[in-house]
Symmetry: C2
Subunit: 308 residues, 2 copies
């Protein structure tokens, strides 16, 4: 069974880590957000892709990003010579960015560099950026426009969000294989990721939204909002600031016309009729991905819905 997952960062990584325990990884494709990529002291850093790679390799840090037990010798020395250190990159993590930057400098695409890193980490699923072109997410806030990591890490997501822009989107082409993975899969799953800054940038690449809308796959989305709160990150604040319902149903509304099944947590069971009213089948289950078992359980439950 070919399964394609539209993926953001930590939530998607954990879902995928469960999924590859239930499905042959060779049949899984992750299409990744590059909107939060940044150039860090000359190096090309892909935080969402790296979170996926590290989590799938079982190496992720305690908060879901970076590498477990990584050191910061270089970062500390960088601060001592006057460098910016607000974006925290550990010593072993740094090797990933050096390798990616070198592969890009040699003329490889981001798709190729990502595939090479996935292979080097022993992964068997396909991990692909949604585009090989520059496609940053700009967060519009009350204090001005901010590149995503400026908003999220440097300023700790404290600014009032008024909107989002994807200035590279119009010129971005889907990376090789992306549209095909959406159109020809048996199922496409929107991971429990932020609809605005994780999934939004994917759908903003010309052709991706249309491919999803027209795909004959069973299309499932897993809510990143549980009990009115984001499991991780600023999704709830963004829903609120932009005038949406701060609920799983509020997320479902954003995917109307794109999704067949919407997965919401048991705690939100009362929202099932609202989801059904959007033309989606609600699937109510425990969506909390605590530990390795939790990840596998959620993936298995979502997969079971595809066959019914």
């Amino acid at each position: 069974m070919q399964v394609t997952v539209l993926a953001g960062g930590v939530g998607a990584a954990r879902f995928l880590a469960g999924l590859v325990q239930c499905v042959d990884p060779a049949e899984v494709t992750a299409i990744c957000n590059v909107g939060d990529d940044l150039t860090w002291h000359g190096l090309h850093v892909c935080p969402d892709i790296d979170t996926l790679l590290y989590t799938l390799a079982g190496l992720e840090g305690p908060d879901g990003w970076g590498l477990r037990d990584d050191t910061t010798i270089t970062l500390d020395a960088l601060g001592a010579v006057g460098g910016d250190t607000w974006f925290r990159i550990g010593d072993r993590d740094l090797a990933t960015h050096l390798r990616r930057t070198q592969l890009l400098a040699e003329g490889h695409t981001l798709s190729e560099a990502t595939a090479a890193l996935a292979r080097a980490l022993g992964l068997h699923l396909q991990v692909m950026p949604v585009t090989d072109d520059p496609h940053p997410t700009i967060v519009e806030t009350a204090t001005g426009d901010l590149p995503f990591q400026e908003y999220f890490v440097r300023r700790r997501a404290r600014d009032i969000v008024t909107g989002f822009r994807f200035p590279g989107a119009a010129a971005a082409r889907p990376a090789p294989g992306v549209l095909d993975a959406i159109v020809s899969a048996e199922s496409v799953i929107i991971a429990p990721s932020n609809p605005f800054v994780s999934i939004g940038p994917l759908l903003a690449v010309p052709g991706v939204r249309e491919a999803l809308a027209g795909s004959s796959a069973t299309r499932v989305a897993v809510s990143p909002i549980v009990g009115g709160e984001a499991i991780k990150g600023p999704a709830a604040d963004m829903l609120r600031a932009l005038g949406h319902d701060v609920s799983a149903a509020g997320v479902a509304a954003l995917y109307q016309g794109l999704i067949d099944v919407f997965v919401l947590d048991e705690i939100d069971g009362a929202l099932a009729p609202a989801v059904a009213a959007l033309g989606m089948s609600p699937l109510v289950c425990d969506t909390m991905m605590r530990g390795d078992d939790g990840r596998r359980r959620v993936a298995a439950r979502v997969l079971s819905a595809l066959h019914t």
Copy 2:
């Protein structure tokens, strides 16, 4: 007394470390070779400049390059993801290259980046690249043309050298202050550095050789060849391969017309008449810079010659 030193790597760094013990560092300017610079996984690395900075800060590694007691956590991880690791960069050393790369990316010149790093390391002398423009040294060998670090580090200087090229030289402009530091200094010292690949690239920048030839400074060169051997590096092999005398006198001949005083080691005292025959005053003394005392002794001896 304003002293300007034309500098290569380890030999120059050790000489300068002695010099700043004898002269107010604020009166010392080092003009540095950038011919061996390289782009390492996207980062701008200046091996000769860094050797100077680290040595003058008292932080250099046991062989004169890199940082003492540095670790290689990132380098080891880089190898594990398929990256090239033949150029050995330690974790704390890496911070220097990240900072430099960032400053260049922000639009600063290499001169400005170098000055910022020198300040961050607490140095009080002026350290300036000979040019802010790209100015690589290409080593012509029996097996083909090689960028300097490919020849020197990756292939361990084993190829037969047939010549040198400086393809950026014609378009390179002296960095701000370089010509003035040569013309207006009371003394200009060519450090005990390789005449072909350390000093040669400095003199190849348009205006530098002419500034030295026309300077009213007392101009001194210290032989990097002692007893027919290079203290460090491939200078002796290069002299031999290119048909020069493999001796201090062979180096002196390369500087004819540019130098007033040529400093050669006691062991080479018999070459003093040959040096004198080139129109330079020979200064014979112990030039071995063993330890901190040795560095200071050599610098003091060279300085004493300037006043006689």
